[in-house]
Structures are given as structure tokens and as C-alpha cells.
């Protein structure tokens, strides 16, 4: 297997589980996606095989899981994610994810695409303060039984970057109560609500736990030298935070043990 070599910091090749390399995780690129490469790299750093997918194809290339990355697909025209949701590849993804089989992760713009596609409830509107916000954000992992969070202990905390303009999660009260009652709030903002999201919700899952969406960016906290300056696990070196890596190892381990 080819092990991704970290550009800065210590190689984590020794701790990467080589049995995970057979797991293929696809990352969809739309016109205007920005973080597709980062997501692919995160998959490789976690020990899996990243597969680039194109939104205009009808081919999932036999992947075992899919990540819809961050960015501004179609320039956020109309509504964030509204046009991407009708991309040809989304038909395959929706069909495979609805029944609970295909693990799908939507990060930031990807989360917006998943709500527009009705794979997740609610929607995102402009931040209540109207500004683009970029900061390292502390989150609580409230559900560690999803396909994407099983390597975290329930109630554990992580620090990953948050960067968006349309990040305010909204849904009607009934939907919010349902999400809370069924334990489908996966991530909650800690240390103050950064954008007015209802009930401090940063990420949610569907009824099966295979589809997860979150606004913050775990794929930007996977490699020493390029991560946040802080970690929920304790002191780290400058840009040494790698709290997001567990998202990617979670799905790889789940698929290997399937």
C-alpha cells in the first residue's frame, strides 16, 4: 500500500492500520468545490483509499462510502447546495444512502447539499451576524454510534476549523425535538454559538446513522503542521491539532469490520 507522507511533522505511517487500505471512499467534486482534495487526503492519512468522483457522472466507481466536500458548488447560486443536489451522481448517492447502506458524509457545503437533497432534515441560512466566519471551533460529539463517529467516545470533545457564511442550521420545532429525542444530534457547538444555529446544532444524522452532515471541517484537522493550534485532547504544537482524523478512521473501521 502507499502511505501518505506527511509534509510537516511526524509520519503517522506506523500507527495507520494497513487493513484499512482496501476501503474505498469517494469524494465528489462539483463545479466550485474547494475542499475535495483535502477530504481525499484525509481519507489517505486515515489509511483508506480515496477515490475522486465527478458530479456529472453516473458512476460511483464501486466506492464503499462517499464524502460530499466543502466549498461553494455553483457559487451558492439560488441557495447553497440547491443546484448540486440535482447533479447526476446525486441520484446514485441518494438511492444508495436512503436505505441506510451507503455511508455518506457532508461537510459544510456538502451538509447543505444533503439537506437540499432531503437526505437530512432542516436547512442552512445565513449566519445570524451576516459575516463570513473562520475560526477553530470546539464541538461535542453527542452520538458516537454513527458510521462517521464510532471511533470517538460519546461526549468527547474535538477542535476543528469552522469557515462559512451560510452556517445557521434551522428546522421547525417538531423536527428539532425529533432530532433531539432520537439522539440524532451528532455534533454540538461548545464555547458559544458561532452562527445562530438552532439549539447549538453543528451536525446531525439520519435515522440509520449512515448519513451525517456537519458545518465544521474535520478534514482540516488531520495532519500535524496543517491543523488548528489547539486540540480538545490537550496541548499541541502550532497547527498540531488532528482531532478530525477520527471521523475518517471511524468509517474505514466500520467498513472493514462489516
Amino acid at each position: 500500500m502507499t502511505v501518505e507522507t506527511p509534509l510537516i511533522g511526524h509520519s503517522n505511517a506506523a500507527v495507520v492500520d494497513s487493513s484499512l487500505s482496501g476501503v474505498r471512499v469517494g469524494v465528489v467534486t462539483f463545479p466550485g468545490s474547494l475542499d475535495d482534495r483535502d477530504a481525499l487526503r484525509a481519507v489517505r492519512l486515515a489509511g483508506g483509499t480515496g477515490v475522486a468522483l465527478w458530479h456529472g457522472d453516473h458512476d460511483l466507481k464501486d466506492v464503499d462510502a462517499v464524502i460530499i466536500p466543502g466549498g461553494f458548488s455553483y457559487g451558492d447560486y439560488l441557495r447553497a447546495g440547491a443546484i448540486s443536489r440535482f447533479a447526476p451522481l446525486m441520484e446514485q448517492i441518494t438511492a444508495a444512502a436512503t436505505g441506510g447502506s451507503l455511508p455518506v458524509l457532508g461537510i459544510c457545503n456538502g451538509f447543505q447539499v444533503l439537506t437540499e437533497a432531503h437526505l437530512l432534515p432542516g436547512s442552512m441560512v445565513k449566519n445570524n451576524h451576516l459575516h463570513f466566519l473562520c475560526k477553530d471551533q470546539r464541538l461535542k460529539v453527542e452520538n458516537s454510534s454513527t458510521a462517521w463517529t464510532s471511533s470517538y467516545a460519546e461526549g468527547s470533545e474535538i477542535v476543528v476549523p469552522l469557515k462559512n457564511q451560510d452556517g445557521q442550521f434551522v428546522a421547525d420545532e417538531r423536527t428539532l425535538d425529533e432530532l433531539e429525542g432520537e439522539g440524532r444530534v451528532v455534533f454540538r457547538y461548545l464555547g458559544g454559538n458561532p452562527n445562530g444555529s438552532r439549539r447549538d446544532i453543528a451536525g446531525i444524522t439520519n435515522e440509520h446513522g449512515n448519513v451525517v452532515g456537519l458545518m465544521p471541517h474535520p478534514e482540516h484537522a488531520v495532519e500535524a503542521g496543517f491543523g488548528p493550534d489547539s486540540s480538545a485532547l490537550g496541548e499541541v504544537e502550532v497547527r498540531g491539532g488532528v482531532d478530525g482524523l477520527g471521523i475518517f478512521t471511524s468509517v474505514l473501521q466500520k467498513l472493514v469490520n462489516k
Binding site: A82, I83, V125, A171, D172, G196
Partner: protein, 85 residues
Amino acid sequence: MPRIVVDVMPKPEILDPQGKAIAGALPRLGFTGFAEVRQGKRFELSVEGDVTEEVLEAARDAAATLLSNPVIEDVTRVEVIEDAQ
């Protein structure tokens, strides 16, 4: 060419951050007397030929599926307008 106008507004219970910012700017310019601003979207769909009931129905369908998101928005108008000239 006749056009079908589609208006989409944020739902009343959804806080409209853009409308709120505009409401804050109005009094600074001397426009007092407006209690609230809500910002929506207007789409104009041009039609080649006549606007039949079928075309209008397709416009309503497009308004509900693509032009608006029912979680946060309401379609408040789907109407044909004829060009003046």
C-alpha cells in the same frame, strides 16, 4: 415574450438576517417609519409561445422543487405578466 413571475419569501418564523441588516441601514439614511424588512427573491421565467395551463403548472412545479426550499421559504406568487410593448 410572456413571462411567469415567481416570488419566493423566507418563511415568517425563519429569522431573515439579510432583511434585518437592511432594516438596520434604513434609519441611518433617514428612512424611518419602516418597522421590519424581509428580503425575498423574484424569478422571471420567459416563455416562447403561449402560456398554457400546462406551462403554468410546470412553473409551479419548478417553484416548489428547485426555486424554493419548503423548509425555509414559501412560494408567494406564480403569475403571468405580458410585456408592455
